[in-house]
């Protein structure tokens, strides 16, 4: 073959190596499903649902944890934008994605899992995170895994931010929060409780202590004023966040007999249901738009009404009434919905003369919150929005001050847990680049990349399957305790529910095929370098070897016809049989050291016992791709490459070097 090659060279014909052995097919290019696109944290929903169908709960959970370190928490309180985009809605109802996430998280809790080992520190740099809410925790989790030192500062005596201080335990039991925070501290993250940054320890001091980057994730805990007369005058007027924080800190004293909560978000519903559980006789919610516009989760509203909360829709406070320094009631006015405002929701307009009074001794306003900025020095230079939130670069989350990043509610205003988690990831990525002195500006939003791809699905012929509903605690049991209301799916329910997934797209992204193929025949390629850097892969290609390799050796060769004109303009033709280059073992020379087995990434080499205690290596030539690394590593010279023997290389060397 060598001589042939030289002849060809003389004729100026290029002959490439037979490529048979190395080529691969692309079997599937993945498109993200709509649920994943909808998730701010980009969780691989379709993939974990697929794993649940297969009963692989651990694998499903591991996959969720790649994008969300708080699965048990999100599985309970997430606003699940994924379900709103679920393609099954076009057939019947969306898949219960959120509850399935909770199912796998709880499934792990029930087992005794080995606690994680601390991550080895590979970088001297330390990062300070201010606030232990979901944004801060997610960022800490990402950064500790990159080998940095991470300290989280929390002004409250407990960690978790609004998860612990705001969301009541009947919705989110404290054990779940503690367990998921423990999973993060086990990795080496230090959480310093009861330390208010800016007061107990200054930013300058932290910089002196060697903290190189800061993540401001202080949340939005300061209730907004109603701006109605009387709101500062009477006892019994308590802001929603303060109220829930007190209850969540263990103060279970009944606040009063009759309670009015003002607002329509999750926090308003939480405050009303909490007040009922504390033994208040009557609880009203006053909301100025209709039920359709109410931002709280629908199921929350339904449950609140079942428990006995009375909701006044289309009503707004006018005046707080008082007697002897105490709240006595509230004057309200009826509203109607007018033109849509800038948020797209229809603006409520008061109806003249429709005033009415609700009697109450406690009023809990829960209209909105803004960040409490009392921790910043008076002369700070942070750029803030008109709502007192931190202004940041929309891609890098960097504030105007170098080394300071902001995210979560402190940046967006009151928002959701998944958004805070997504921000935590983005900030971790930015801080990593910042500390590595890389250009921050160069990051592209991996989630927005995902968002750009559309996905069309054929739903014709899909049969409706009723959605599974998880059981709930009975109303009687609820009212005098903070026991969890929503209960978990059973294993059978979870699998049945997961089977409702339409599996938008051919592949479930789970990558189990790669891990599962012992022969390493399936490979993934990661085209997005940036995505790889931050450990997120928005797109990949699956590969398997071409079929010729499956054929028996003698049928494997490929015929190639080469034609050329010589100097006399005569047609010349040459037929060549190209064979793949593969390696084989000369069994008599192999002494079974096993070096080659270790070096073969394709697992083509195995050690086979021949006689008692004697092993020799064997190469599966249908898998071998002929790279020759095993040939190079073989100390006895037992492994040889077909068409590419040592002898042939020697000949090539000689002919090169002796040419004059």
């Amino acid at each position: 073959m060598y001589r042939l090659e030289t002849t060809l060279k003389k004729e100026k014909i290029k002959l490439f190596f037979p490529r048979l052995s190395s080529d691969v097919h692309t079997i599937s290019r993945l498109e993200p499903s709509s649920c994943r696109v909808a998730c701010p944290a980009g969780i691989q929903v379709k993939a974990y649902i697929g794993l649940i169908v297969a009963g692989k709960f651990q694998e499903a959970l591991d996959l969720i944890k790649k994008d969300n370190p708080l699965p048990g928490i999100c599985g309970r309180v997430c606003t699940h934008p994924c379900e709103s985009e679920c393609n099954r809605r076009k057939v019947d109802e969306s898949v219960a994605i959120c509850a399935l996430k909770r199912f796998v998280a709880d499934w792990e809790l029930k087992k005794s899992v080995k606690r994680a080992e601390p991550i080895a520190r590979i970088s001297d740099e330390k990062i300070a995170i201010v606030g232990s809410g979901p944004a801060g925790l997610t960022c800490a989790n990402d950064l500790i895994r990159l080998g940095y030192g991470v300290t989280v500062f929390e002004k409250l005596p407990f960690a978790g931010g609004m998860l612990t201080a705001g969301i009541p335990s009947y919705r989110l039991p404290r054990e779940i929060i503690n367990k998921e925070i423990e999973n993060i501290t086990d990795l080496g993250v230090e959480i310093r409780l009861g330390v208010k940054v800016g007061k107990d320890v200054g930013f300058d001091e932290l910089m002196e202590q060697g903290f190189k980057a800061f993540f401001i994730a202080v949340g939005a805990h300061q209730g907004l004023k109603l701006n109605v007369p009387g709101e500062n005058d009477y006892q019994g007027f308590i802001d929603c966040v303060d109220f829930l924080r007190n209850v969540n800190s263990g103060d279970h004293k009944k606040p009063g007999r009759k309670v009015i909560v003002i607002g329509g978000g999750n926090s308003a519903i939480d405050a009303s249901r909490t007040a009922l559980r504390l033994g208040c006789d009557e609880v009203f919610v006053v909301y100025r738009r209709s039920r359709k516009e109410m931002p709280a989760n629908v199921s929350e509203i339904e449950e609140a009404e079942k428990e006995g909360v009375k909701i006044h829709y289309l009503a707004a406070p006018v005046k707080i009434l008082g007697k002897k320094g105490k709240v006595a009631g509230m004057e309200c006015i009826k509203m109607r919905l007018g033109e849509p405002d800038e948020s797209g929701r229809r603006k409520p307009v008061p109806l003249e003369g429709s005033e009415f009074v609700i009697e109450a001794d406690v009023i809990i306003p829960s209209i909105s919150q803004k960040p409490d900025l009392s921790f910043l020095p008076k002369d700070h230079e942070f750029k803030l929005s008109k709502w007192d939130t931190f202004e940041v670069d929309p891609v890098t989350f960097a504030t105007n001050i170098q080394g300071f990043f902001a995210g979560g509610d402190a940046m967006s205003g009151p928002n959701t847990v998944v958004d805070a988690i997504a921000h935590g990831h983005f900030v971790a990525r930015s801080i990593n680049r910042y500390l590595k002195h890389k250009d921050l500006k160069k990051i592209t939003h991996s989630s927005s990349e995902v968002r750009e791809w559309g996905f069309r699905l054929e739903i014709e012929g899909e049969k409706p399957i009723e959605r599974n509903h998880f059981p709930k605690l009975s109303i009687e049991k609820r009212l005098n305790s903070f026991e969890e209301v929503d209960l978990c799916f059973t294993e059978e329910q979870a699998i049945a529910e997961a089977k409702r997934c339409l599996r938008c797209g051919p592949c479930v992204e789970c990558q189990e095929c790669v891990a599962g193929c012992s022969k390493r025949l399936v490979m993934l390629s990661f085209p997005h370098k940036e995505a790889q850097e931050i450990g997120r892969v928005p797109e990949f290609i699956l590969r398997v070897p071409t079929d010729p390799m499956k054929l028996p050796r003698d049928k494997r060769s490929e015929e190639v016809v080469i034609s050329w004109r010589d100097e006399e303009e005569k047609e010349n033709q040459l037929t060549l049989a190209l064979e793949p280059i593969t390696c084989f073992v000369d069994k008599d020379m192999c002494r079974g050291c096993g070096k080659c087995e270790k070096v073969c990434e394709y697992k083509a080499i195995t050690l086979k016992p021949v006689k008692e205690g004697l092993v020799v290596s064997e190469i599966d030539e249908s898998i071998c791709k002929g790279c020759g690394t095993c040939v190079a590593i073989c100390t006895t010279g037992a492994i040889k490459a077909r068409h590419f023997t040592d002898k042939r290389i020697e000949q090539m060397l000689e002919s090169c070097l002796n040419q004059e």
């Binding site: 190596f17 790279c627 690394t629 060397l653 000689e654 070097l657």
Partner: protein, 142 residues
């Protein structure tokens, strides 16, 4: 340049993997550098110290090996092996009295214009300066 021995034509062997910047493009360097002999291998992982010593024994003045950049090996891992073998070979040739400059490993796709040319020029220039390999001289004097 003045140090270069005018009448000395170095014999340089280049090993190149099939997929790297050199192997893939069938470099024109072959025409530009008449002293440059190219031996293509499937992967730089095939290179071991025995192969390198063999080439020196057969009279090469310099050996340059090309492979894909780190982490980009077509077979995933071959060039890691090449890098290890390269280190071993360096210490072996040192024992034999061959200058370390005569052996070089380049893991690159050479997608930048002119980079390959300058690497080869620099390498071949370096060999010109130090003259023929001591092994070759011993063999020729026999």
């Amino acid at each position: 340049m003045s140090e270069e021995k005018k009448d000395f034509k170095p014999k340089v062997v280049a090993f190149a993997c099939h997929w790297c910047g050199v192997g893939k493009n069938e470099i024109n360097a072959v025409e530009d550098f008449p002293d440059f002999k190219l031996i293509k291998l499937m992967c730089s992982g095939r290179i071991n110290s025995a192969l390198i010593l063999k080439a020196f024994e057969k009279g090469a003045d310099g050996i340059i090996a090309f492979g894909c950049p780190e982490g980009k090996c077509h077979y995933n891992f071959g060039n890691r092996n090449a890098a290890e073998e390269y280190k071993i070979a360096q210490s072996l040739i040192h024992l034999l009295g061959i200058e370390p400059k005569r052996l070089r490993l380049e893991l690159d796709f050479f997608s930048e214009d002119g980079k390959l040319d300058s690497v080869i020029k620099e390498f071949v220039g370096g060999i010109r300066k130090i003259g023929p390999s001591p092994l070759r001289l011993i063999n020729e004097n026999k």
